[in-house]
Amino acid sequence: MTFYEEAKRRAVLVAGQVVPDTTRCVQCGICSFNCPMGIDVRAHAWRGEPVVNSRCLTCGQCVTRCPRGVLRFERISIFKEK
């Protein structure tokens, strides 16, 4: 991975939050199982709410591990480019 890609990846992680797409989710629980902070990501995915949790590190574990591409990063509104 080049330096540019890595820098960009970090930037996205810092400015982002994890947003689920409920229609894809099958509640398998891989996301909750792999969360290092023990956040129940699956419950957020069931309700279709973004993972707004002060403990969330935006480490991307849940996003990467989800076998069905339910979770993705989205920029929080304060970081949105005008």
Binding site: M1, E5, K8, R9, V12, L13, G16, D21, T22, T23, R24, C25, V26, Q27, C28, G29, I30, S32, F33, D40, R42, A43, W46, R47, G48, G60, V63, T64, P67, R68, G69, V70, R72, F73, E74, R75, E81
Partner: protein, 464 residues
């Protein structure tokens, strides 16, 4: 008001949520024959591969206390529509000495004001001599998954028969437990009526890398046993393949017996209108068992997907509690993992469904494509990336996305919301451009400017 829900799959649970969002007084009864109640059935695939432990299959997000559901572990044997009642047996698990377990059955009768049948579907049994032997397995529920793990850990060689997603889950799950896996296919390639040749080859190549042995044009004529235990399979060409277990996934069939006996209108599933009502008043059906009217094709169709089952259950619940909200069936859409490659299947992709307004098929590679404003940068390092688009006259009709899923979400919305692609259509079909880059550019333009093309919102579970 008494609501009775038969079946603890996702359709039943979604119906409970919907009912409770409107009616917090009514009694809700849930009757399920699965001893474990509600858990993630699709998650069983990841339980088989040891990605999650068994207890992780049970979501904590359902608040049983708050929903005040009376649960019965049992089986419904009869529906009496004239008397608005059901009859069944209630199971009691008796634990004896030395871990002996016995199930005692006790008959019950329950009247209802609204009844929901969400009994789902079950695996079609294999029609081959020897299926009753110990070591022949299918996968329907958690008990099956436990048995498969138990057997796979003790066997040296397994045979998997069938097609589609489930058979691959069996292949991967059994392989993950150690044994050598032989995957038998009747045709010349994997899932030939949905995937195209390249995609099938990608999947097969990946399976071979994992050590799975593939057999094309192969059919089993008999399962051989010794003392009630599987020892091998005899193929149509007379060869014998020795193995300790046989797993099959040749399709599912809705559980229609109850509905047929009660005189409900059935075809391949229970026929329902857009309010999820059957032809008998106060009886509803949802999930795998329901055959739902599809406004796009004008036919009643069966779905065997988790997402639509949840939506159907939710709408059935709303309508049971007194609203009249029609359920509009969306495009068939699934994201799954085929041999470790995340794959999105949207819309009309199968060769059997190709029709006149399909004009061209585009193939592409999405490796260079990572410049969305809200790009998903966490997923990197895919070694297989493949995109196939079905391009219609005015809109995209379908897509297959394998590997990198960055394009999957934009494509889902573009297809479901029937976004006009005429501005980029020629570029998509031109051999000199990468379709993935063209799409990325177009999607960026759509989402940054407020475009009338993106009008209809994506389905959301909102509280009514």
């Amino acid at each position: 008001m008494r609501y009775v829900i038969v079946g603890s799959g996702v359709a039943g649970i979604a119906a409970i949520e919907a009912i409770r969002s409107l009616d917090d007084q009514g009694e809700i009864w849930l009757i399920h024959d699965d001893p474990h109640g509600f858990y993630s059935r699709p998650g069983l695939a990841y339980y088989l591969t040891d990605e999650i432990p068994e207890e992780q299959l049970f979501p904590h997000s359902i608040d049983w206390e708050r929903y005040q559901v009376r649960r019965i572990w049992g089986r419904v044997t009869r529906i009496l529509p004239q008397q608005s009642a059901i009859e069944g047996v209630h199971f009691h698990l008796l634990r004896g000495l030395w871990g002996n377990k016995k199930v005692q059955e006790e008959p019950f009768r329950l009247s209802y004001d609204r009844l929901l049948l969400a009994v789902g579907s079950q695996a079609i049994p294999l029609n081959v001599p020897g299926v009753e032997l110990h070591g022949v397995v299918k996968i329907d529920h958690l008990e099956d998954a436990r048995l498969i793990r138990h057997l796979a850990r003790r066997s040296r060689r397994a045979v998997v028969i069938g097609g589609g997603i489930t058979s691959l889950e069996l292949v991967e799950g059994i392989r993950a437990q150690g044994p050598e896996v032989h995957y038998l296919m009747r045709g010349e390639r994997y899932w030939s009526n949905v995937l195209d040749e390249t995609e099938s080859r990608i999947v097969e190549h990946r399976l071979e890398e994992e050590g799975v042995i593939l057999h094309h044009f192969t059919e089993v004529s008999e399962i051989l046993g010794q003392k009630g235990q599987v020892v091998g399979v005899r193929l149509k060409d007379g060869k014998v393949l020795h193995c300790d277990m046989v797993a099959y996934a040749i399709g599912v069939r809705p559980r229609l017996q109850l509905a047929r006996e009660a005189g409900l209108q059935t075809d391949r599933g229970i026929l329902v209108n857009e309010y999820m009502q059957t032809n008998v008043p106060n009886i509803f059906a949802a999930g795998d068992v329901a055959q739902v009217y599809d406004p796009r094709s004008g036919k009643a169709v069966l779905d065997s997907l988790w997402g639509p089952a949840r939506e159907q259950g939710y709408y059935a619940g709303l309508n049971m509690a007194g609203l009249s909200r029609p359920y509009l069936r969306g495009l068939p859409f699934n994201v799954t993992r085929l041999a470790g490659i995340t794959t999105t299947l949207i819309g009309r992709i199968g060769e059997g469904h190709r029709d006149e307004d399909t004009l061209g098929i585009v193939r592409g590679d999405s490796e260079t494509w990572r410049d969305l404003p809200d790009a998903l940068m966490a997923q990197t390092g895919f070694d297989v990336n493949h995109i196939r688009l079905i391009v219609g006259e005015r809109t995209l009709l379908g897509a297959v996305v394998m590997g990198d899923q960055t394009l999957s979400f934009p494509l889902q919305r573009m297809i479901v919301e029937e976004v006009d692609i005429r501005p980029i259509r020629d570029r998509l079909l031109s051999p000199n451009e990468k379709p993935s880059e063209v799409l990325a550019e177009y999607w960026t333009r759509l989402t940054t400017t407020t475009s009338p093309a993106l009008g209809r919102p994506v389905f959301k579970f909102s509280r009514a």
